[in-house]
């Protein structure tokens, strides 16, 4: 049945997926198996996004399905599901910018590709990135931004990370609507990604995931 669940989620059949998950929960299936199936399905969704067959609607709907299934399973779970993770990434939209569509896609894709992602949200001041690097100890930091003001906010964030003595602890990637390699140079980041897949590749490369 877990195979059917994987398919239902991956094929965007929300009703079917929820019914299957409920049946499995009620029938006493191992909650870990249900969540494992959901995660496998998210992996397929990520692959299809990468191939260019799935787009924003599918990412959003599958995310919503995953959350609903997690809610169903939660009461049955003795402990939180620990999934093995490749490494840690901190992501946020830089100070002054409140756009989140692009950042959310990157978070989604990093997550389904097995990274432990801390999403700091939008309009994140440089100091908050610095604190997150200290507390969460990521190997990679992703800065997102949509407006031209983000160019300088990204630079300010990289500078603050430098000033805190943390620059050599993390690799920094940037991305967003108008971001380019020129902006990477301006900001002093290590790389820029044209899309979410590029962000995943960078994180894999830097963390050493095959």
């Amino acid at each position: 049945m877990s195979k059917e669940l994987v398919n239902a989620i991956a094929e965007m059949k929300e009703q079917e997926a929820l019914e299957l998950a409920k049946e499995m929960v009620d029938g006493g299936s191992d909650p870990m198996e249900i969540m494992g199936a959901a995660r496998d399905a998210m992996g397929i969704v990520g692959e299809r996004y990468e191939e260019g067959t799935y787009f924003l609607p599918e990412l959003i709907l599958s995310g919503v399905m995953l959350n609903q299934i997690a809610e169903m399973v939660k009461p049955k779970l003795a402990e939180a599901v620990e999934v093995e993770r490749h490494g840690k990434v901190v992501v946020g939209t830089v100070e002054g910018d409140i756009h989140d569509i692009g950042k959310d896609i990157v978070v989604f894709m990093l997550d389904v590709n097995g990274f432990d992602v801390l999403d700091l949200g939008i309009d994140v001041p440089p100091q908050k990135f610095v604190e997150a690097i200290k507390d969460f100890e990521p190997q990679v930091v992703g800065l997102s931004g949509f407006l031209t003001l983000a160019f300088d906010s990204m630079k300010d964030t990289v500078d603050a990370i430098k000033k805190a003595g943390l620059r050599d602890k993390v690799r920094i990637m940037i991305g967003g609507g108008q971001i380019s390699d020129e902006i990477r140079k301006h900001a002093g980041a290590d790389a820029y990604g044209a899309d979410a897949m590029a962000g995943v590749s960078l994180a894999k490369e830097w963390i050493g995931v095959k």
Partner: protein, 450 residues
Amino acid sequence: MGKEWGELSADEKQEALFQRWLAPKDPEGNDLKFQSPEAEKGYKERITRIKDAIQLKKRPDRVPVMPLPSMFPAYYSGMTVEEVMYDYDKCYAAWKKFVLDFDPDGHMGCAAPGPGKFYEILDYKLYAWPGHGVAPEHPYQCLEGEYMKADEYDALIQDPSAFFSNVYLPRVFGALEPFQMLPMLPGILEMYGVAFNFIPYGLPPVQGALNSLMEAGGEALKWVGAVGGFDGEMATLGYPNILAGFTKAPFDAIADTLRGTKGAMLDLYRQPDKLLEAMEAITPLMIKLGVGAAMMNGKPIIFIPLHKGADGFLSDEQFKTFYWPTLRKVMMGLIEAGCIPFPAAEGGYNDRLEVIKDLPKGKTLWMFDQTDMANAKKILGDTVCMLGNVPLDLLSVGTPAQVKDYVKELTGTAGKGGGFILSNGAFFDDIKAENLKAMMEAGREYGAYS
């Protein structure tokens, strides 16, 4: 005597709107007095240049050059966005300096910052603006949310205007929340019971909202009193405002500020028929919005900012099913009324070019951002006028020499044979002024048709 407006063909209407634009009036309805014969000549030349570029009938004398800023004029004048939103005279001064210093072929007026106090009075929920969610030096930004709920499609479909006035308006303006109590107007058909409809107006919350509404109206009037003369003065100096008004793609109307991106994308799977029906229902309103502005302002170009149909947002199939059909209907409705739709395709539109080609020749102006302009010229060059696409990263952190190189290449490909207006790819805030100057200079130099 000429024909009545309703008897004119779409082409004749467009020509008539161009003629009205070419012969501007002052607020009293008399012919506008230009400040010099050169200004008058410049005004007409600029409009003619833009007209020729758009219509694809003959090549203009050179590529029109027209930077389209967001809040750049404020930064350029050393002001914060907060200052230009709250001090209307400063806004006027900053936008005037921008036009005079950069000498563009057209401008977009100085209404973009809008009246900050007005938003405050109405407790506007839809945007964060300086002092209200963003810093004084930053531009206002949309706060996406579900301002229309998932189960409200029928209400929108059955009576869009009532939905906007009785449901949407009280949600996006906190001070107008009591208007949720207002009646639907068909209740006023007969004397019997008509007074019931007016009871809400006697209730203190509604009366409070009405007071806010009057105060807000006063503020809007104050604002327009300060900035309303801008287009007229710029015209006397030779600079036309290119925009008559704006409208939206029905999909964006729903996905931007009604359902929000997340809501609309879920609806695309959960209730696709309702989504399609709702877009059809608001299509006539979107046409009216644009046509009404064109008639009132006496010129043809209607801006349509495009958002959620860009490359990466939707699949080809989804674009063709959910985004394009009603956008095309809106554009065709505008064209029928003599207008020139001016969609701004922010982001990439590389995957959409073959689809959007399905339009009549010489009737539309497309702003492109991260779209391959050489390829776009190949596919769309016979059909539409393109505008763009100097990238914002280049204008922000590049050098004037790099900008000039870019413009040279761009005018050589996209500008070949006409049908092109040089501009930025997306609306810009704080970029380097010397780079914008370089864009203007290079546009005039390399954009000359000899």
